[in-house]
């Protein structure tokens, strides 16, 4: 009996020692040169391996970061301070690493835009789109079934009277809402670009006016004030995000429909209804 116990212990110890030494040598022999930054970043990252960034885990994300395939802001868990540290290790300077946040390019809530028909199907934008293009007068605007708000892991999208509005302070720019929107209405824009055109319809001005009171009617007023900050795409003015306009453009341009605005103004307007 005693021998059995003794020899079992010796056998197990020998096996483990042998395998340990073998692995130790293998690590030395098959050592692969890796960028030391990968390990450094991996230690900085939360290490929850949640997959929120779309990668297989934190180490995979660290590899993508070093390879330049991802931005630090892709990590939805990390806070601001941590992201800055990661950016420092990567050597990304503050300018190219400017935070992107989502923008819903529509300002038409229920009171300012018309509805076409009654839809009482599944409460989901993609489903609503399948039925005659959705129950909104405008076939480019926000459908208001909150698919993007449900996709947002940070509750950064508020639904106000059938319109999705992104809260600038909560959005981290993960881009999940971009794919959730069946109308491709949501884009990422630099956080500093406060002034945006809240319309996405390329239709003619008169046509848009009939169905929506806050559409861009293509009057070119804003374009005339700041040619280098605004681009005209047919009947739709868009902000040039390489050179975004300052907030005083809203005063100067006197947009007749209030389509050129900021998210703060929009939120204020809608919340004053209550």
């Amino acid at each position: 009996m005693f021998e059995t116990i003794l020899f079992s212990i010796i056998l197990m110890a020998a096996v483990c020692l042998l395998l340990g030494v073998l692995i130790g040598f293998a690590v030395k022999i098959f050592a692969v040169q890796v960028d030391p930054r990968i390990e450094e970043i991996e230690e900085l990252l939360p290490g929850a391996n949640c997959g929120g960034c779309g990668k297989a885990g934190c180490s995979d994300f660290a590899k993508a970061l070093v390879a330049g395939e991802a931005m630090p802001s892709g990590c939805p868990v990390a806070g601001k301070a941590l992201l800055e540290e990661v950016a420092k290790v990567l050597g990304v300077d503050a300018e190219t690493g400017e935070k992107q946040i989502a923008l819903v390019r529509c300002g038409g809530d229920r009171s300012s835009s018309s509805r076409s028909e009654l839809y009482n199907g599944v409460n989901d934008c993609a489903s609503a789109m399948l039925i005659a293009g959705g129950p909104k007068g405008c076939s480019y605007g926000c459908l208001g079934f909150a698919s993007c708000a449900r996709a947002c892991p940070f509750n950064a999208i508020e639904m106000v009277d059938g319109l999705a509005i992104v809260h600038e302070d909560l959005c981290v720019g993960c881009g999940k809402c971009l794919t959730a929107c069946p109308r491709d209405l949501i884009i990422l824009r630099p956080q500093s670009a406060k002034v945006n055109v809240y319309c996405n319809s390329p239709a003619k001005g008169a046509q848009k006016r009939k169905i929506c009171s806050v559409a861009c009617i293509g009057c070119r007023k804003c374009f005339k004030v700041a040619e280098e900050n605004i681009e005209m795409k047919g009947f739709l003015a868009t902000v040039n995000y390489d050179n975004p306009p300052q907030e005083d453009i809203i005063e100067e341009a006197k947009c007749p429909t209030g389509c050129l605005s900021t998210t703060t103004t929009l939120l204020k307007k809608f919340h004053s209804h209550d």
Partner: protein
């Protein structure tokens, strides 16, 4: 048909259909539920499992045959290490997979990229362990064990691919709220296992 061939037919068909490792032996349920959400990840897992099971069967059956099943005589007492089987297998399989992972990283980065994170995930997977123990219990030779291990991997892959394809379909179905997510996945898995009972008695 000679007896040799019949034996191999029995091993292969037996493990893939009749005693399917997931659906009849209920081993490896954790990756079966864990990585079956998308067919693409399931395929990666299948590749890794086939690879590891084959290798683990070869090594563990050799160890069992040449070390653990031997009886040693020390002075007056006989010592047999058969009871250490599970412990030794765990340690050996885990370090074997580590070794393979380390060398693959250097020798074949493309294969390493394909098997990727799945390799370390299954170092101590119970399906791998189950095949290794079954090899010993069924008294298979080293070569037969290797075949058994390879087809064990195929058997796992069959179940996983079927299941993940079903789950991809389920994503589009209108499932009542209480059944959404893991609940309906478990029910689907159960039905699949019942369907596989139809193969029993084949070999």
């Amino acid at each position: 048909m000679n007896e040799e061939l019949a034996k191999y037919m029995q091993i292969t068909i037996g493990i893939v259909l009749v005693n399917n490792i997931v659906l009849a032996q209920f081993l490896g349920i954790c990756p079966f539920l864990g990585v079956s959400k998308k067919l693409k990840t399931a395929l990666g897992m299948c590749g890794a499992v086939i690879f590891v099971m084959t290798l683990a069967s070869l090594v563990t059956s050799a160890i069992s045959k040449y070390v653990l099943s031997k009886t040693f005589i020390y002075e007056n007492s006989q010592i047999n290490f058969k009871f250490l089987q599970i412990l030794v297998f765990i340690v050996v399989i885990a370090s074997l997979v580590q070794l393979v992972e380390i060398s693959l990283k250097k020798l074949s980065p493309s294969l390493y990229g394909a098997l990727g994170i799945y390799l370390p995930l299954i170092t101590t997977n119970c399906a791998v362990m189950g095949i290794a123990v079954n090899n010993v219990d069924l008294h298979l030779s080293v070569f037969q064990s290797t075949i058994h291990g390879f087809f064990g991997g195929i058997s796992f892959s069959l179940a996983l691919i079927l299941f993940s394809s079903l789950r991809e379909k389920l994503d589009l179905a209108n499932i009542p709220k209480p059944f959404q997510g893991t609940a309906i996945a478990l029910i689907t898995g159960g039905l699949l296992a019942m369907a596989f009972q139809g193969f029993s008695g084949l070999v």
